[in-house]
Symmetry: C2
Subunit: 597 residues, 2 copies
């Protein structure tokens, strides 16, 4: 089997770190017990391991292809997507009112990870559809919801997000696609959108495009952008499919990775105008798009964890089999499997610690999302929402940056074989490379972290996270295992680095924006290392306690302690360098003349 | 133009850091003046920019292809290789006795960088031929030299290194290819070699394979391996080409990158035996191979610098053109080129500082090589040789690891466009990924650094390097520019980290080999950051002094100061994390059960 879902670790994160039991007691989540989670995860694992994962390499070898406006997806994708839809997986986290299962994000996030580990390219279609569903739930009229949501949640139709244009990537102020009111409540759209994931394909009967465009006379910049729903086939009031709309796929991109996922150039209105309807209020498109994007950003962070997990599994399997050289400690008389060699272990442990840390952070963030949306106490909701929003750039930025590093180590563990495409390790490296870019580059995430998430509340959320971390340090203090002692020391140091940098950001963001933004990505990474490390510290405590109580799977728990220990010594130790570069390094970033680059 | 050779920086490194003037006074190098260097570099730049660089993308799109035992290289390669040979570039550093130009490695290294920046895949053919020439110069008989060297140095024939077998990668003790003496001084070879770069191609009239094999009855392990010369076409005593030898290319690999470079599986002796001749003494093959490998390892390090340079140039060009978003400091009223944005600058400066630091380190190492081989004083030769040998794993390991990070940043600077293959940034990312693997993985380099280069002399070479670095710190101390002050602080801290870790290695390598080898790659990286940073410190001093004297190219010199400053704050600051991970982190690397991976 090419992929085995880490169900045990996912359940550990949910129950020991994310408080799944409490989430199962929130209004609306009464069915979300630990038993439910276990059953869903097992079923999800079975489906992804057996149906979706085997198509991953196929997708790399036989990517989506374009011919005269139509896109043929990788052989097998269509059928697998039908099974995905029939299994109810698209609706996992969506309202029962429209056919969904209304499961908490805490559980849904693990399912998202499995689907993405199994097949990043395949998983992108549901990922984008989720975002589109979110936009309709937030801003759609009752009629729009009734028309689109049941079909999208059932997987009959899929959704897309149309933001980017050739001149407007990170900078959506430059969007030029225009929407002309037709007097009957509809609009005609004209323009070109690029980088549209699953913008055209053959896996569903209809594709529902959500498109940013300007209504004539709208203000310049981001305050003049509206959101439109533009289906590939027009939809009658009865839900029946009508005429082909004037949106056409004129090409798809030839990419470094995720080759099976068609990345479309869409032309709107070349034959009279693409018919669309406004979603929500005029000129508030960016706001709605941010809702979709926040969901998508979190999910892309999970993609990072997913590809890191699969890359780790492949490398670990190779290291357990490949025989080469004698161990340096003489523990084996002749050549041994390379998992004996300290540097191979260092690489595998780096991959593993990163992945487990990022997963713990993501699942804990998902739990905060659930609490923020379901808790009966407004104060708790507000606090959880602030925490979740702080986490989104970390989950997205940190997990995706680490995924590239992990996939690169995955190749290195394989030696020369890693560079041969048939081995498969290289695909994860290629696939992962898009993750720090799409749905907002790491710099865009970092701007969000600096501006909206740290600067705006004067560092309050950051400080409250630091206070929570200090509580975990206090819980570590009386422990005497080598792992706990190392973690206590390193976590305290990283938390201090995090606090110092958050203060630096708050104090200097107005007076010296260049210095602060020069350190924005290092700040994001520092916060990611610290928060993921904090979760590993909590995991270490839980694992040691469970072991001491003689409960649980001892091998799993011992591995968790060892991995947390490694995280402390090898990943938390990276924060001082980042702090120094941020606090002292701003001027040197700006020192070179623009012309000298 | 897709590539512009950084001739100015290369000359700066040679004259200001590597002492080219003194090298031009060594016996045998009388012609190697600064003027010569300038003329050679200019000519080399012209050739590589206009002839070789344009074939880089072609090679990615139309890789070498295999058909029934023959390999057809990328269209244009054959002709370009002929021009390369006619220009005398293959013989640049080789003895005039055999038709070479006998230029110092200090100059040759810069030419190697240009060729590799222009086209990594193309450059591999001469790179391997250089190694083969080295082996013959070291261990070949007079007859063998006379037979092969003139043709290889003129570029009529090329050379290969045949080490790897399916079961023997990093571990050459496992080599199984066997050589049977024929009684007439020749041998017949039987076996399979894999990963043979340019093991078969159509660019030269003959291919001279250097092959590791065991003579019947030889001892087990590495002490029973001999080196053989096995030409593709047998060579008569008069140098005329004879029969086709029994070595055949049965396939070439489908790789992540360097696709134009054919990576051959060679089958020796399937039709009666491949005729070969012993090179040097029986069972000393590994020793000779190490000579080839040391040359090749240094050159692969230069490949890292080369691909980093080209990746930087592409990213910088894009950043100077792409307009997106307003600068955070309000310095431009509307959208500006992205080179204005602090995070883009941070990425570009990281790429630039890494590249310039690694280049300076490599050229200084090359100068030590030249001194070690040409100085009249035996003590100076010995000291320079020890320094050079210490540098080889750093040049190879550090420069190649950094090249992957740099090429990854090169994609990131491009945003979504970076992920599109047509842009070209992705090719550097794919190409670079082999560099930390072939000619000895980074772990193999790190083992060499720990064992042969640090442990064996009790840390003496490491300490003498630290002493030299401290001298540079003393020279920085009285300077009052912000750049010099930052450099003084950071360099002192990194030098202390380097010393502490070298001591740790010396003290613990026998008593706790697992801990030391768990930190071997971090030690290599720490040493690389420190030594390259030291060269940037020297560069900063030289640049400030030259500026103060009102000489030189002011824009270039100011850029050098800015880049060194950035290096101090953003790259030297990484060493404490590595020190902590090495000194404290060994146990956590070994903590997980082998079965739990």
């Amino acid at each position: 089997m090419s992929y085995r879902a880490p169900v045990k670790d996912m359940l550990f994160c949910m129950t020991e770190l994310a408080g799944l039991e409490q989430i199962g007691q929130l209004p609306g989540f009464e069915d979300a017990s630990v038993d439910t989670a276990e059953a869903v995860l097992d079923e999800c694992a079975r489906f992804n391991e057996s149906v979706v994962a085997p198509l991953n390499r196929t997708g790399d070898l036989e990517p989506s292809s374009w011919d005269a406006g139509t896109v043929r997806t990788t052989p097998g994708f269509r059928q697998a997507f039908r099974q995905f839809a029939e299994g109810g997986w698209q609706g996992l986290q969506h309202p029962t009112e429209f056919g969904g299962q209304n499961l908490p994000k805490t559980i849904g996030a693990a399912c998202t990870e499995m689907l993405n580990s199994a097949n990043l390219s395949f998983a992108l279609c549901p990922l984008l559809t989720d975002g589109a569903i979110e936009a309709l739930l937030t801003a759609g009229t009752d009629e729009q919801r009734a028309l689109y949501l049941p079909k999208m949640i059932s997987g009959e139709w899929t959704g897309t997000m149309n933001l980017t244009e050739p001149q407007a990537g990170s900078d959506l102020a430059l969007v030029r696609t225009r929407a002309e009111p037709q007097g009957d409540g509809s609009y005609k759209l004209f323009g070109t959108k690029i980088f549209i994931t699953y913008g055209e394909h053959d896996m569903a009967a209809n594709i529902v495009h959500f498109v940013l465009a300007r209504i004539a006379g709208a203000p310049e910049g981001v305050k003049g952008i509206s959101l439109f729903v533009v289906p590939k086939f027009l939809v009658g009031a009865d839900g029946a499919l009508g005429e082909r709309n004037d949106v056409h796929c004129v090409s798809i991109e030839h990419k470094l990775g995720i080759k099976a996922s068609p990345t479309a150039v869409l032309q709107f209105g070349d034959h009279g105008g693409a018919i669309g309807h406004l979603v929500g209020a005029e000129n508030r498109g960016l706001e709605y798009m941010f809702i979709m994007m926040n969901a998508a950003r979190y999910a892309v962070g999970v993609q990072g964890i997913a590809v890191a997990e699969r890359s780790y599994q492949k490398a670990a399997a190779y290291a357990r089999e490949r025989v080469q050289s004698r161990p340096v400690d003489g523990s084996v008389p002749g050549s041994a499997t390379i998992v004996h060699h300290p540097d191979v272990r260092r690489m595998l442990m780096t991959m593993r610690a990163y992945t487990e840390g990022a997963r713990a952070m993501a699942i804990v963030a998902a739990a905060a999302f659930d609490v923020a949306h379901h808790d009966s106490d407004p104060e708790t909701r507000k606090r959880s929402q602030a925490f979740y929003e702080f986490m989104v750039p970390l989950v997205k930025g940190f997990s995706t940056e680490m995924s590239v590093e992990v996939a690169s180590l995955g190749i290195q563990v394989h030696g020369g074989m890693g560079f041969i495409e048939e081995t498969g390790a290289a695909q994860y490296f290629r696939d992962s490379r898009i993750l720090p870019i799409y749905e907002g580059t790491t710099a865009i995430q970092a701007n969000d972290l600096v501006g909206r998430k740290t600067g705006r509340d004067g560092g309050q959320t950051a400080r409250s996270i630091a206070t929570e971390i200090a509580r975990t340090e206090a819980a570590l203090a009386p422990r005497d295992s080598a792992a706990a002692r190392a973690m206590a020391t390193r976590l305290a140091a990283s938390r201090a680095d995090f606090e110092a940098v958050a203060n630096f950001v708050v104090e200097r963001v107005r007076s010296d924006p260049n210095a602060v933004f020069a350190g924005s990505v290092p700040y994001l990474m520092l916060a990611g290392y610290t928060v993921a490390g904090w979760q590993m510290a909590r995991a270490l405590i839980a694992a040691e306690d469970t072991l001491a109580a003689g409960r649980g799977d001892a091998a799993f728990l011992r591995a968790k302690v060892a991995t947390a220990w490694f995280y402390a010594e090898h990943l938390l130790t990276r924060t001082p360098a980042l702090r120094a570069a941020i606090v002292d390094g701003g001027a040197s970033v700006m020192a070179l003349d623009n012309d000298s680059f």
